[in-house]
Symmetry: C2
Subunit: 226 residues, 2 copies
């Protein structure tokens, strides 16, 4: 059984990727990151999603929060709410976290070396909303090349593959895929300002994209709004 | 004054890079990493080197040690001693730490985004000893490309530059350069099994390369051996 590392944030996308990797019969190790995000509930949800999914083991990794302060997600500025999709697409997102996915993937890689897993899964998506440079195909490709030059893969080891199966899917398609795979989306939290029980605001960018996804997929939205 | 991030390990190479960046008039922020290495003294030495150098601020970043266990430096196996240079060059080094420089550079990048520093310095060296894939030019180039695709640099921000000024220097040339720049090498620790006072074993790969460097540079070796 091939091992895989799945990066997990407790949201809709990464929960779908977890189900996707398990459906492909990987022995899955999940990793989530505490980088000082204000929506702490996602860490609990990640652990629960992993446990309920049949993954082998979950790692919650605490990162020094100091380099990740300049973001609406760690509290330096308010989370934008009530924006339309055009506004979301203009420039870098206020919810971009400095080099976050580079750090997350690097840890994924280190866990991969440690566990003998050469397949690293990440739930990035570049279609819905392009304000995150570290969610685009060219970044994922470049990281994979870097990974294969900077690890045992460069010296005859099996190459790493960075899997980003949702990269070019619409949110509606992701919801449809996850539903087919049996993901219980009521247990996922996408909201940037979810409360401690995981109830969503319904107004932030993440909430809007998520709700639109369910609507366009024609699937009932199980999200708990406050 | 341009800001720079300098990754610091407390050893000869990174101390030289620190002096190099300061000589180029950067406002320098140093970062060192606690990844569970058994030679803990390097963390103290890094902080002291930074403080004595005129750097603006030092960050000691604690990393979750779990993905970094499969290395002689974190205790899974003994540090090799008494090997000759031919043996050192064969295959991946037992002292390679899983994806270490990828993780370190990712954090350097996040600090760069946070501090407004676009110049990241790292003391990697590929000549003396090639058993570390994450110390080679092609890895550094690939990481720089990744950095510029996965950060604000991709959306009109100033590009990041990963500076690895020692990349193709011999240890002798590094020692000569640092001596010219006023580095006090007695305060640096290269040994993989240094004791708490920073005294070196004189036998491990790092000790051998360091000692040969001083000999070939014709500069007195101030290393404290036990």
């Amino acid at each position: 059984m091939k091992r895989a590392v799945v990066l997990l944030s407790g949201g809709l996308d990464s929960a779908t990727v977890l189900a996707y990797a398990l459906a492909r019969k990987y022995e899955v190790y999940t990793v989530s990151f505490d980088y000082g995000q204000s929506h702490r509930v996602e860490l609990k949800r990640s652990a629960a999603l992993s446990e309920n999914s049949g993954a082998m083991k979950h790692f919650e990794v605490k990162l020094d929060p100091r380099p990740f302060q300049n973001s609406a997600l760690t509290g330096r500025a308010g989370v934008p709410v009530g924006r339309n999709l055009d506004e979301m697409g203009a420039g870098i997102a206020p919810t971009y976290v400095p080099a976050r996915n580079t750090v997350f993937l690097s840890f994924g890689l280190a866990f991969g070396e440690e566990l003998g897993a050469r397949d690293i899964f990440i739930g990035v998506n570049s279609l819905d909303y392009s304000g995150y440079p570290d969610c685009r195909p060219q970044f994922i490709d470049a990281f994979e090349k870097t990974a294969n030059l900077g690890t045992s893969a460069a010296d005859g080891g099996e190459p790493f593959v960075i899997h980003a199966p949702l990269l070019t899917m619409t949110k509606a398609r992701i919801v449809a895929l996850g539903t087919e795979l049996g993901v219980d989306y009521s247990q996922t939290v996408s909201c940037y300002q979810a409360d401690e029980e995981g109830r969503a605001c319904g107004l932030c960018d993440a909430c809007q994209l998520r709700r639109d996804g369910f609507i366009q997929a024609g699937i009932e939205d199980p999200t708990s709004y406050r």
